[in-house]
């Protein structure tokens, strides 16, 4: 157990890398989620179907296979080269994006039809209605869900260790292979827990604060 002490700094560094990649992927996922989410709630059937296909594809294929596809499949086919960092970020962004689309969609749909009609009656256009009427209310639903997606990304980024991306879990496994003790994995577990649990507490606080009729 004491053998892990000299490596604690490395593990914390690994945690920061995990946090960095997940945060980067989250920002990309937010952009994807908002754009595709708005498309998914639009009236264009073809666009709706395309958004649906994207979400279903990502949710029906293991993250590991998506990562393998990005890291091994695409470079051979299209003569592009990704570093593990880029492949991991891209795959996680697309993965989180699909869940974010659902979060944004359910946020938009949580705002009643009659509000759209009221805005329409006041002569407010689509984009102004979206920005000033729907978005501020949709965020009550979307933001707590986004915290949950960030947690999935933090946990999901551990899968990227399999394509040789040295983040928290891979750091722990490397240290284990040096000192032959499970303690680095235990420390990694504690670090994951601190990050994810903190986020989930934050998420439920946001949710409580945004509840209709609650103190705000």
């Amino acid at each position: 157990m004491a053998g892990v002490v000299p490596y604690l700094g490395l593990l914390v560094k690994g945690a920061l890398i995990t946090l960095e990649v997940s945060a980067l992927a989250l920002v990309c996922a937010l952009v994807i989620g908002v754009v595709v989410g708005i498309v998914a709630t639009s009236r264009f059937r073809a666009a709706q179907a395309a958004a649906r296909v994207y979400v279903e594809l990502v949710r029906s294929i293991p993250l590991l296979v998506q990562l393998f596809f990005a890291y091994y499949g695409l470079p051979l086919m299209f003569k592009v080269n990704f570093t593990p960092y880029q492949a991991a970020t891209a795959a996680l962004a697309l993965y989180g994006g699909a869940y974010m689309v659902e979060a944004v969609r359910s946020g938009i749909q949580s705002v009643g039809r009659n509000q759209w009609e009221a805005a329409r009656a006041l002569g407010i256009g689509y984009w102004h209605t979206m920005t000033y009427v729907v978005a501020p209310q949709a965020i009550r639903v979307t933001l707590p869900a986004a915290a949950g997606i960030f947690i999935s990304l933090l946990k999901g980024s551990s899968v990227a260790s399999i394509i040789g991306f040295v983040e928290l879990l891979q750091t722990a496994v490397n240290i284990r292979n040096t000192i032959f003790s499970l303690s680095p994995l235990l420390v990694a577990g504690i670090l994951y827990f601190l990050m994810c649990y903190g986020l989930s507490r934050f998420g439920s606080r946001v949710e409580r604060r945004f509840r209709y009729g609650g103190a705000s």
Partner: protein, 224 residues
Amino acid sequence: MVSLFDPALFWRYRHAIAAGAAATLALGACSVLASFAFGLAGWRLKTSRHRPFAWFGNAYVEALRNTPDLLYIYGLYFGLTGVGIRFSAFTCAVLALGIQGGAYVAEIIRGAFTAVSNEQRAAARALSLRPWQSLVHVELPQMLRVAFPALGNQVISTLLGTALASVIAVPELTYQSQIIGDSTYQYFSVFAMDAVIYLLLVQILTRVFHLIDHLWFGKWRGTV
């Protein structure tokens, strides 16, 4: 020569692919059963009247839901051999996925029981049903209706999680794909096929769950 799509490749490796798909299904089924067992145990602990048990149940659910499943696959695989227990990679994967999935299953069961209103319980008591009769005839049917869709999603995410077992060389679908990819360099075709098989499995399962949900609970839709 790397081509976009090579059907001959799949024909040549059809036995490995079929074996991989079968192993994925077997691993998925065992892991789902294990996760239900752990989930029931976790739920019993969590809702126990004895403080230490309840605390332990809560700790189990919170700890497992906030850490990645790959950690447990590695942890069990390295850890058990470290203390001299020799489990196969398959057993390790089933245990890891079962323990992880169990935390979610425990939450689903607990959540579904809170959806059954206390009036129902009180009414069952007033009709002098015994606690177990109330559970079997009143609470369970209502609770299952709430839990079923969530449990279905959980089954699917456990099935997708089995891909991670490839890191400890369980010869399931993703592992077989990697091997075929390594020996032919047709990674694009191989992982595309891999993805399609998972997609088919998940879509079929989703449809089956919807059908069961419809047949079983359809007539109660829109009631309490």
